[in-house]
Structures are given as structure tokens and as C-alpha cells.
């Protein structure tokens, strides 16, 4: 046995630190000013704390980082103008979940008595793991994904049309104006909740538009999945259009296989299937010919849309080195929704957790200057999620590699889609 005093010291330190850290707890100040203090709200210092739980490590940081940057830029812009209600500055507490639900739960428990609400929770699994706590504690969180499940949850503050809407609008456009009438339409989706959401939309469109899905393939959204078989199957079935539900890394692999197999249908991808790095890859050429993305808003740099004009001005002022990115826009929109709820809560004079819940019910319609669809709020059962979709095609010359095909349209079929 070799003596190892340093390791002994280290473990001793850990135990001591465990105790030291465990003993430290926050104390709140006495109420002062016009509004009463609440967890995360200090009227004396004039600060409102907002929690952000996002994967800033791991593959999903490609989503988490720009999204959080979008949050930051919008919050900083509001702060520069004086803050919420003209006097309360937003302080954001960021925690890195690394896309692990356990980490998200720990971060939530750390922050829950310290923040007025959670301005971003990214990850379907993380959001679902937090729901129990959110409900028990009466807290609000804004999920950074477009799952339809979120719409009717009273503790969640979702923005944007659910994934189903993207699929319905895109396919309805394809079989009417897009020249796809009578063509063989197929699907390729990852076998999880996110894949299911897209497929639900496809099925709904198929019923309403009277087409049938020729071939439906899935692939395991695990790393190292071999999609060759699925691509082969779609090609065998003679598919002329394929609705794709995947994430950028898998999209690269799958379309690479399709290109090799000389399989050239019209691909239509759910918004998270795409990232700008794809346009710049060796597949860029194949993508510009055969790939479309169903998303919302407008292309980066289109100043005819007021929201885009404001956003670009904010970036120039606050974070000039920000690269064009779709997730940045989402984060910016999300912070905009959070700010509207906070403004309402200040107007109602209550920034407690219950006050935020009340403000969310009474906030009216959340607006985004055309970056995403306006969203009438109310009780969870009365929320009317936006039904607009924008179709993009890949164009490596554009800032995010995307050019608008058809901007901000809602089909009747999408209007008929609802979630109970």
C-alpha cells in the first residue's frame, strides 16, 4: 500500500465542501418600494431573476448556445431600456444541463426559490422531468421545443406552432401549389417523441388532403445508427417526396446515403432537421436541389419584417459577433414572450410565482413582430397556438443557408388541427 496523503486530503475537502455548500442558504430582504418582494424579485435592488436551464455542453449545445444567446440579447436590450416596468433589471441565472435530465432537475431545485420563472428549459426529457416540480411549486417555465404536449400545460409558456403544424402546412402546400399532386409521399422519422409529433402532422394532412403515405420509415436516433436500409426502402417504394423528422447530424448522414444511392426525391424537413453547417458541407449541392425546410418567420436579414429589423439592430448593438442562426431567433422570441409576461405581472403588481401564473393567463396575445406567429394566451385550455409556417429552400449564399419559398402561410387544414 502506498501512502497517498493528497488523495486523503482531497476526499476530506470534498466532504467539508459538501457541508459548507449545504449550509449556505439565501436570505431575503424585507419588502420595500411599491411591489412586494418575492422569490427571485428584489424590489430594493431592482432585479428580477430568470432561470435558464440549457445544454451548453454536448452535441445539443449547437442548439443550446445560440438559443441562450438569443435569450441574452433580448433581455439585455430590455435592460438597456430601463428594464421591466421601466425599472426592474432582468438578471439571468444560466445552468448547463448537458442534456441530462438529472442535471436539469438538480438545477431546477437549486434555482426554484431564487427565480421568478424559468425563461428557458431545453430538452423534451428535461422539460417532462421538471413538470412534476413545476406543478407542485406553482412555477412557470418556457420550453424551448415545439412539442404539442406543452400547449395545454398551465405551468409552461410555449411559443411557436407545434411540429404538427409545420408538417401539415408543408405537405398541404406540396400537394396543392408545390406541384406534388398525385406524387408518392413518404416519411422518414426518428423513432422518438419528436419523430411521432411530425408523423402525427403528416397523418392529419394525409386525411385532410386525401393522399396516402406510400412508405413510412423510421431510424434510431442513436449515434452510429445505420440509415442505409431506410433510404433503400424509400427508394424501392418509389417515393417522390419524403417528409424528414431528424436532427442536423442525422440529416447529414441520411442525405449522404441518399445522394450515394442516387435517390433524389423532394425532401421536406421539420425545422430542427436543418442547421447552417449542412449548407456549407459537401452535401450543399444536393441539399440546394432537393431539400426544403418547414419553419417559421423569415430569412435572416429580411428587414421588411419588423421583428427581424429590430433583432438585427439589437445584435449590432449588443452582440455584433453573433453568427446568423435559426436557434438564435427562437431564443430571442422566447425571451420576448417572457418579457411580455413579466411586464404584465409588474402591471398587476405581483411578481410572486402565483402572480406570474396569473399574469400568463391575463397577458392577452403574445406578439413577435412577425418572427413567429402571434400567440393568444389565456387559461391553458384557451391558448390559440399560431398556425403559420414558412417554407425555405437551401441556398448556401444566404446567411443561414436558407431562402424563403413561401412566407408565413397557414392552410385551412392547419387551422383545423387542435390539441385538447
Amino acid at each position: 500500500m502506498r501512502p497517498l496523503p493528497r488523495a486523503g486530503l482531497a476526499s476530506g475537502l470534498v466532504v467539508t465542501a459538501l457541508l459548507a455548500a449545504a449550509c449556505g442558504s439565501a436570505t431575503s430582504k424585507a419588502p420595500a418600494g411599491t411591489l412586494r418582494s418575492a422569490p427571485g424579485f428584489d424590489p430594493v435592488a431592482g432585479t428580477i431573476k430568470v432561470g435558464i436551464i440549457s445544454p451548453l455542453t454536448g452535441p445539443v449545445q449547437a442548439v443550446g448556445k445560440p438559443l441562450t444567446a438569443g435569450n441574452e440579447v433580448y433581455f439585455n436590450k430590455v435592460n438597456a431600456k430601463g428594464g421591466i416596468g421601466g425599472r426592474y433589471k432582468i438578471v439571468f441565472e444560466e445552468r448547463d444541463s448537458a442534456y441530462v435530465a438529472q442535471q436539469a432537475v438538480q438545477a431546477y431545485n437549486e434555482l426554484k426559490t431564487n427565480v421568478v420563472l424559468f425563461g428557458q428549459v431545453l430538452g423534451t426529457a428535461s422539460t417532462k422531468a421538471l413538470l412534476t416540480g413545476l406543478k407542485a411549486d406553482g412555477l412557470v417555465a418556457s420550453p424551448a421545443s415545439l412539442d404539442a404536449d406543452w400547449v395545454r400545460e398551465p405551468n409552461l409558456l410555449p411559443i411557436g406552432g407545434p411540429y404538427q403544424i409545420q408538417a401539415i402546412n408543408a405537405l398541404t402546400w406540396y400537394v396543392t401549389d408545390g406541384g406534388g399532386a398525385g406524387r408518392k409521399i413518404c416519411t422518414l422519422a426518428q423513432d422518438d417523441a419528436y419523430g411521432q409529433a411530425g408523423l402525427q402532422g403528416v397523418d392529419f394532412a394525409a386525411r385532410k388532403d386525401g393522399f396516402s403515405v406510400t412508405s413510412a420509415k423510421t431510424f434510431a436516433a442513436t449515434k452510429g445508427a445505420d440509415g442505409a436500409a431506410a433510404i433503400r426502402g424509400l427508394k424501392d417504394a418509389g417515393c417522390q417526396a419524403v417528409f424528414l423528422v431528424s436532427t442536423p447530424s442525422d440529416t447529414g448522414t441520411l442525405l449522404g446515403l441518399a445522394a450515394t444511392a442516387d435517390f433524389t426525391p423532394q425532401w421536406i424537413g421539420q425545422s430542427p432537421s436543418y442547421s447552417s453547417s449542412l449548407a456549407a458541407s459537401p452535401l450543399g449541392d444536393y441539399l440546394s436541389k432537393y431539400f426544403m425546410v418547414a419553419s417559421e418567420g423569415t430569412e435572416w436579414g429580411d428587414t421588411s419584417v419588423p421583428g427581424m429589423k429590430d433583432m438585427l439592430a439589437d445584435i449590432a448593438q449588443i452582440k455584433p459577433d453573433q453568427q446568423p442562426d435559426l436557434y438564435f431567433i427562437f431564443g430571442y422570441d422566447q425571451a420576448r414572450a417572457v418579457v411580455q409576461v413579466l411586464e404584465k405581472a409588474v402591471a398587476l403588481g405581483d411578481l410572486s410565482h402565483a402572480g406570474i401564473m396569473a399574469a400568463m393567463e391575463q397577458v392577452g396575445t403574445l406578439t413577435f413582430g412577425g418572427l413567429t406567429g402571434d400567440y393568444p394566451y389565456g387559461k391553458a385550455a384557451d391558448r390559440v397556438f399560431p398556425r403559420e409556417t414558412t417554407l425555405f429552400k437551401v441556398d448556401p449564399a444566404k446567411p443561414v443557408g436558407l431562402a424563403v419559398v413561401k412566407k408565413g402561410f397557414a392552410t385551412d387544414q392547419a387551422r383545423q388541427f387542435d390539441i385538447r
Binding site: T222, A229, P282
Partner: protein, 298 residues
């Protein structure tokens, strides 16, 4: 019929890459008697060094691959010298866990340096492809097969005729007797780590070429190659190649036919097929198809 041929082609190519990774395992196993879980880490290091040399420093492609191969081989030797040498004589499981610990470190250090985004290797093949009677094959896959063949031939020559190759074989048979014959166990073990690093680099480069892309998750192929070595037997290079091809083909064929003919097995069954094959083979032959049976010592 075309379908079958295409599946066989894609299965063979994938299997060849498994085989390349598996050869790295076998070389280290032969010299040390332990599976190196950090093989995937060496693959990452080799691939990113190639990217760095070629894209960042602007070296031509093949010299960049050569440089990265050499550097990764040196990394392998360095890891063996600094860490694993201290584990000599320790139980198998302890050594496995050390390599696993090293893998965990590499998995974080690589993205800390190069980030998580998919990078393009900018290889000479891109997405160009060849056609043989209606069947398309990526140009880079043809090269991958060639690389596997060359590496395999080189390893065979090494084990058959090379001084250290013979030494390694002797070590695998009986370490004490080999050392009594004047073989330096230390050099042989270090060399095996060097070879493993070099082979891992080539596997990583062929995996990342074309539309594959360089990303920090590429090391999972090492996990998928485990069944290949178990199937082939841990100490047999031939077994590694046969095991790799068997796994690649079974995966491709399962993916091609199972969804239509055995849908009840569920979507994505092809990804777990290698493990199913592995378990079935082990139930019949606990040391794989080509492996040497361990002698139990009291």
C-alpha cells in the same frame, strides 16, 4: 436482387470499418490480454489531428493523414508509458476500467479543443461515387476497402515475419517464456499501443471522409465493433476481419429485410443486431469463433 447486392455492398463496407477498429483491439489484446476501451478515443484523436493538419495547417491530404497517424501512434505509446505500465500485473477488470477512464477524458478534451460542430474533412473524394451496373458506391468507400486490405496485409506480414510481431505472438502465448527468450515485454506492449493508435487514425479518417464528417460522437463505432472482436475471438486478426464483416453484413441485411419480414422486432432492430449475434455466438462458443480458450489457473 439489386436490393440484395446493394445491401451486401453497404454491409461489406461498414463491416470493413468495423474490422479496422477491431484490429486495433486485437493488437493490444495480444500484447496485454486486455480490451482497450480507449480505442474509440484514439480514433477521435487521430481523426481530429488529420483535420487539423489538413484543413487548419493546410497540409496536403495524405501527408496530413500520415502525420496524424504518427502523432496518434505516439499518443498511444505515451499513454501506455505513463498510465498503463503502472497497471502491469493488475486484474483484467481494473485495466479495462483505466482505459475506460481515459476514454471519458478524451471524449471531453476533444470537443473542448475542436468544438462539437460537424467539421468537414475536405478529403479528395467528397461525395463522388462510382457505378457498376446500376449499383452506386461512394468513391471513399472503395478507398476504405483498399485501406483495410493494406492494413490487414501489413499486420499479417508484421506478425508473420517482423521481429516484434513474432515477439508479440510469443507474448500472447506465454509471457514469461517469451521474456526468458530475451523479448522486451515493455517494448512489445508500447509498440502494440502505437499500432493501435495508427490503425484507429485510419479507421477514423475513412469514417469521417465524404459526407461522414468529423464530430466527437464518431467514437461510438468502437462500441459497435465490440461484438466483432467477441465474435472473431479477442486474439485473432483474421477473426477480427471475419467478425467485422459478419457484423456489418448482418446489420445491413437486418436493416434491409427485418422491417418488412419481422416487424414485431421493432424499429431500429438493426442497431442492436450485432449484440444479438454476439450473444448467440457466445452461448455456443464462449471464446468466439476463432479465439483461444483461456486456461483456468488455480
Amino acid at each position: 436482387m439489386t436490393k440484395l447486392v446493394e445491401l451486401i455492398v453497404s454491409g461489406t463496407i461498414r463491416g470493413a470499418l468495423y474490422a479496422l477498429v477491431a484490429l486495433g483491439f486485437v493488437v493490444i489484446y495480444k500484447a496485454t490480454g486486455v480490451i482497450n476501451f480507449a480505442q474509440g478515443g484514439l480514433l477521435l484523436i487521430g481523426t481530429y489531428l488529420t483535420y487539423n493538419a489538413h484543413v487548419t495547417w493546410g497540409l496536403p491530404f495524405w501527408p496530413a493523414v500520415g502525420l496524424a497517424t504518427a502523432l496518434t501512434a505516439l499518443t498511444g505509446v505515451a499513454v501506455e508509458r505513463t498510465v498503463l505500465r503502472r497497471m502491469a500485473g493488475q486484474p483484467v477488470f481494473a485495466v479495462i476500467m483505466v482505459t475506460l477512464g481515459l476514454l471519458i477524458v478524451v471524449q471531453q478534451v476533444v470537443p473542448a479543443i475542436w468544438g462539437y460542430d460537424r467539421l468537414n474533412l475536405d478529403d479528395p473524394w467528397g461525395v463522388r461515387r462510382l457505378s457498376f451496373g446500376g449499383i452506386h458506391v461512394d468513391l471513399k468507400d472503395v478507398w476504405a476497402l483498399a485501406v483495410v486490405a493494406v492494413v490487414l496485409a501489413a499486420l499479417f506480414a508484421f506478425f508473420r515475419y517482423g521481429r516484434y510481431g513474432l515477439a508479440m505472438r510469443a507474448m500472447a502465448i506465454d509471457q514469461e517464456a517469451a521474456m526468458a527468450q530475451g523479448i522486451s515485454a515493455r517494448r512489445v506492449v508500447a509498440l502494440s499501443w502505437g499500432i493501435a493508435g495508427a490503425v484507429a487514425t485510419l479507421a477514423g479518417v475513412m469514417l469521417a471522409a465524404g459526407s461522414g464528417g468529423v464530430d466527437p460522437a464518431k467514437d461510438v463505432i468502437a462500441l459497435a465493433a465490440f461484438p466483432a472482436i467477441i465474435l472473431g475471438g479477442l486474439d485473432s486478426p483474421v477473426g477480427a476481419v471475419v467478425g467485422g464483416l459478419a457484423i456489418g453484413l448482418s446489420q445491413a441485411l437486418t436493416g434491409g429485410y427485418q422491417p418488412d419480414h419481422a416487424a414485431f422486432l421493432g424499429a431500429g432492430f438493426d442497431t442492436v443486431m450485432p449484440y444479438v449475434v454476439m450473444v448467440l455466438v457466445l452461448l455456443a462458443r464462449p471464446c468466439g469463433l476463432f479465439g483461444t480458450r483461456d486456461v483456468v489457473r488455480a
